[in-house]
Symmetry: C2
Subunit: 356 residues, 2 copies
């Protein structure tokens, strides 16, 4: 399969570009690397992500993996640079409307097919890259109305070679989807976290795991997320408008002591959490949590997991709630509801202090 | 120490009341149980949380552990029932202003000292109780201006017997603190999750770990959280007003393409995440994340932890990002920044597929 593909040129060898090169090389595809930073190209080449592109090279696919602000211009440049070669041009940008607008009037726009892998990391740069980054993750494919069928098939073939799972969406659908599942949640986390920045320290002493979870993504790099949100302004604004309307309703309900309205809003939230696809896309199953006290010493966590495994209950999820005041951590083991009692009894019998 | 205390009457033997009874019994304190539900009292008694209170009993401490809506009335009733005995009355309610208002005109209000343990669970009822529930967790103590010194000392003694760590706040400070660290984050999670309830299924296929974290607490029981928020309306409304003002600014910044304003707001969020006390109250240290692919089979997770331990790097946190499409999970191991490379190399050498 892979020998029907390539060479693939990756433009921009940061985290995503380098990871793509590594994944494609692992699949036996020839990879050409280019970046405004020769340093990045050297590093990615050294990691085995491909070889620097040289003048004579003729890629069959160009993958643009540059920051959101430069996406459109670099995609257009790639279409120009490959004029007449029939090369397919795609990208890995977080937003798909802006790059599409950039190629809208390009005579060879049919060779462009947008894409967006649902993979990343807080880290960036080629050294953060890894061949397994896309393995099993959704990769949105967003062909536009004039994308050539063969071009779409070529990009899908490349995506499957990385181990990613294609998810088909129109560019507009994609941008609305990520506004809802990624950009607006990030902004809401930032708004929530902002309330903490100004809080008295003794108030923050009451922080539990909940507020840590709600605000975690807000630690992301402001300049990058600023670019992403700005590039998806329309879809983000539509949802923020909904949020504002519901926030007004919430303020009114709390102010007026309207319990029914307040509970109705909280119920909406419960439904929202149930709408998120569960493990392996299956419907969410009811789970039980078992809390275990674990001394904060190297080895204790592994011993707990080994004991949990000995209880023959599959652990669905783990959360560590670090004790703010002493070297003991509370570890939450999440299992299928019917198995909770079995795990608890088993761990107790092995000397762990647990509760539900 | 414990023989200077008791008997302690626990009024309301749900999750918190039963757990308190179990913790105090474990410390050798005599515990009397009462609840409008005889069934609950029987269950808690059977679990060893204490014995049913009978007519002749004279408690030295009464701990009110009933739902927010009934807190004030039950505290007043407890002060009346113990008139002349000098018994101390405290509670474990999530909000402290409302119960204080209820006792404001009570002639023996000096015997009341508010409290709020930072411990709980999605589950409720006596069967969810456990003696270790409070161990190492913050327990807010909120004496009012007229609380008798001996009463405050008695409650502190009881709190320390449960293994909890007293955190001193005025009732008003406490309510502002939990509005910021708990109630408003919960409402923001609900607003964010509400956007998902109405989303097309193919859009939700792009959901990652971020949106799961931001919305997790929104799965909490609407009726209970409705009571809590309603009881802390003033502090919640003040913060929601701030959120609304900042949301307006966000909408304006995104609408006008004002990058500086947008990044400034995201930067505020970053500062907020850094303001949350780190592990053991220490300042947050820079961490590195190592991602590992783990087959979704009982035992694999434990094997990974065992190998991580063998690398002699202490795991600070674990997050499991369940692959939506296949039986492989991505596990994020969080370690101190300088140890990341060591863990990655060690795990790779043991045959794990990892990346940062």
């Amino acid at each position: 399969m892979s020998d029907t593909l390539g060479p693939v040129e990756v433009v921009g060898v940061g985290l995503l570009g380098t990871s793509l090169g590594l994944a494609l090389r692992a699949a036996g595809v020839e990879v050409l690397l280019s970046d405004v930073s020769h340093e990045h190209v050297r590093t990615a080449t050294g990691l085995g992500a491909g070889r620097p592109r040289s003048a004579g090279d003729v890629p069959s696919i160009v993958v643009v993996a540059v920051p959101p602000d430069h996406l459109g211009a670099v995609i257009v440049a790639a279409l120009d640079a490959t004029a007449g070669t029939g090369a397919v041009v795609t990208d890995v940008g977080s937003v798909k409307g802006v790059p599409l607008a950039a190629v809208a009037d390009h005579p060879e726009r049919g060779r462009y097919v947008g894409g967006h892998p649902m993979a990343g990391s807080e880290r960036s740069g080629p050294l953060a890259g890894h061949a397994a980054l896309f393995d099993g993750r959704p990769w949105a494919l967003t062909p536009h109305l004039e994308s050539a069928v063969e071009a779409v098939e070529t990009v899908e073939t490349m995506v499957r070679l990385t181990g990613a799972v294609p998810v088909w969406l129109t560019p507009a659908e994609h941008d609305r989807a990520v506004a809802r599942t990624s950009h607006v949640p990030h902004l809401m986390a930032a708004l929530t976290a902002s309330r903490l920045a100004s809080a008295p320290e003794n108030h923050l002493a009451l922080s539990g795991q909940g507020v840590r979870d709600v605000t975690r993504v807000a630690a992301g790099e402001p300049h990058l997320y600023g670019q992403i949100v700005a590039a998806n302004a329309e879809a983000v604004l539509e949802l923020l408008g909904e949020v504002r309307g519901q926030l007004d309703g919430l303020i009114e309900a709390v102010g007026a002591g309207d319990r029914d309205a307040l509970e109705g809003l909280l119920q909406q939230g419960v439904l929202g959490t149930l709408a998120i696809p569960g493990k392996h896309g299956a419907p969410v199953r009811p789970t039980a949590s078992v809390w275990v006290q674990v001394p904060d010493q190297s080895g204790e966590l592994a011993r707990l997991l080994a004991d949990a495994v000995a209880s023959e209950v599959n652990i669905e999820d783990i959360r560590i709630d670090h004790d703010p005041t002493r070297p003991v951590g509370l570890v939450e083991l999440v299992v299928d509801e019917p198995r909770g009692e079995q795990l608890l009894t088993s761990l107790e019998s092995r000397g762990w202090t647990t509760h539900r």
